[in-house]
Amino acid sequence: MVEKRSGSTGPARRSAGARLMQGNVAIAEGAVAAGLRFFAAYPITPANEIASLLSRTLPRKGGVFIQMEDEIASLSAVIGASVGGLKAATATSGPGFSLMQENIGYAAAAEIPCVIINVQRAGPSTGRPGGPAQGDVMQARWGTHGDHPIIVLCPSTVREAYELVIHAFNLSEEYRTPVILLTDELLARMSETVELSLPEVRVVKRRRPEVPPEWYFPYDDARGDVPPLAAFGQGYRYHITGLFHDKAGFPTSRLDEIEEWHERLFRKIDGNVDKIARIEEVDTQDADTVIVTYGSTARSARHAMRRARESNKRVGLVRLVTLWPFHDAAIERIARSAKRIVVPEMNRGQILREVDRASRGRAEVVGVNRADGETIEPAQILSALEA
């Protein structure tokens, strides 16, 4: 899914429905608009506002907020609630995200929808809790053990955070998969004027089985790669496990059953990259240099691009809204037309490698990096454009 734009978009204009809103607040409100009814989390900077807001909102809406004893328990409870039929999410930052990895793999393997919000801060380890970073991009893709697909979204404005958290819930229900929303400390704590009267919030409901219980197979591909999921307690008694399982959900060591399941698991995500992976392109058609950017770094990248255009440099921009699955085809296309690709990111070069791989040597790929908990400023990107 490629959205093409010409020129850059300015800040949202004030209107009757406009509000000054913080990034974390947008995420909490977007989640509720998406149908969130269960939220479990453990305190961590810089994600805290999401939990404190939801602890007020959810009980009033008949939903559940619970502060768990750690991040492992938080995601466990989220998966349990999702099996009970509720839309469920947790929010955390780097150290907590590390603790969640095993259960992310469980949710991917057992195909339980859930949303994990990771407000990135500088790491590794405790790092710099108050400094933004984009160091968890590869962890979001590969953090759990074993092979599995995943969907990871990355907003770059407060308004987009609101929209993408809704999209995250929708994708998690549509594809029966955990979806990770990667934001960062900058986006979490900044406030922007946001117009929230969105054209229409599309909310995807979970597909329920329509067959009688004795015909129900929670992992069957007979009706497509994403089988309907019955909630516990609704008359469909079945088994869920993190072990390799057959179409009924029971552990199996039969290689044909394992292969069938694993193939379907990948097919449902990687086979739908064009539908899932969103990118935004700005002025790439005549560009000989293209900035590939994502998240809050895209804000500086836009600015740098404008400045470069002002001095008649043919610079374009590609913003990855979906980081994973990676949009190989789009990057390869860019690499065919551009000579040089500049990848600014608040880490030591993570998406850079993906861009390099997808470019297949057709363009020079250069990183602009910073991983000390400070944002990349336009000037730093600009100097790479001029180099």
Binding site: V64, I72, S74, A77, I79, G80, R237, G242
Partner: protein, 271 residues
């Protein structure tokens, strides 16, 4: 379906047996006791969920015709907490081994007890790690030899029942696989309890338990449970393990408290 034994009604019909458990294992006795407790309470299978962690005991849900989930190691109670809050009217039984509940899942265990969440936790305590080959667990008694304590365990074990009591569980009982009928009653009482109920069951692992006079002999292990446990609190002084209902108290359950909170907040309105 013709049932050979009443328990069969609660077992899954297809391709599940023989079980993964070794001959002489005590987990089947615990499973039988759970089924009899469910029968005694006349609960519908649709309304029961069984959640387990990892290990030999964690395999139990495969065999039972409930809503079943085999989760990650140590996390069964945390998964069950989410499910219970989503489906407050379901009866949720959580099955864990001693390593699962007290080592990797120890934090979740004490916090489930502190919250007094309306779950029934069965701790199948064989006092070692069975599935991974007989390593010491937090319940291995002092001096007992194990795969990772070839010279005998030098750490003191947890008293699981007392841990549950101290952490705030509303109901705590302990029995053994020798006392199977008593066990049915304790599990049924635990399920009736509005709050966090813990039933610790001492069980035998005839494959990896290394006490010299019991190696490979499940009958010797069951007899040991008969001879070395007591329902008389005064008997504990002589080194015996206390069986019985250790705690049965009225405390507000978490789901009940949350429902009250929701009601009052909704009355006050607001979005």
């Amino acid at each position: 379906m013709d049932t050979v034994v009443p328990e069969q009604e609660y077992l899954r019909p297809h391709k599940k047996f023989p079980s993964v458990w070794c001959p002489g294992c005590g987990i089947g006795i615990v499973m039988g006791a759970i089924i009899r407790a469910v029968r005694a309470r006349q609960l519908a299978k649709d309304d029961i969920a069984m959640i387990s962690g990892i290990g030999c005991a964690g395999r139990m849900p495969v065999y039972l015709d409930f809503n079943t989930m085999h989760t990650t190691h140590g996390r069964a109670l945390a998964f069950a907490t989410g499910l219970k809050l989503a489906r407050p009217d379901m009866e949720i039984i959580v099955v864990m081994g001693d390593g699962d509940a007290m080592a990797i899942g120890g934090n979740h265990f004490i916090h489930a007890a502190r919250r007094n969440i309306e779950l029934t936790a069965i701790v199948v305590n064989n006092r070692i790690y069975g599935m991974t080959g007989g390593q010491v667990s937090p319940a291995t008694p002092l001096g007992v030899r194990a795969t990772t304590a070839p010279y005998g365990q030098i750490e003191r074990p947890f008293d699981i029942a007392r841990m549950a009591e101290a952490a705030g569980a509303a109901f705590v009982a302990r029995s053994t696989t020798y006392h199977a009928i008593e066990l049915d009653r304790f599990i049924a009482r635990g399920m009736e309890k509005k709050g966090f109920a813990v039933v610790e069951v001492l069980t035998q692992c005839p494959v990896f338990w290394r006490e010299p006079d019991q190696i490979g002999d499940p009958v010797a292990m069951l007899k040991w449970f008969r001879d070395n446990t007591t329902t008389d609190p005064d008997g504990v002084a002589s080194g015996k393990i206390l069986r019985g209902v250790i705690v049965d108290r009225e405390l507000p359950g978490y789901v009940e408290s949350y429902r009250t909170l929701m009601k009052t907040r909704r009355k006050r309105g607001g979005g």
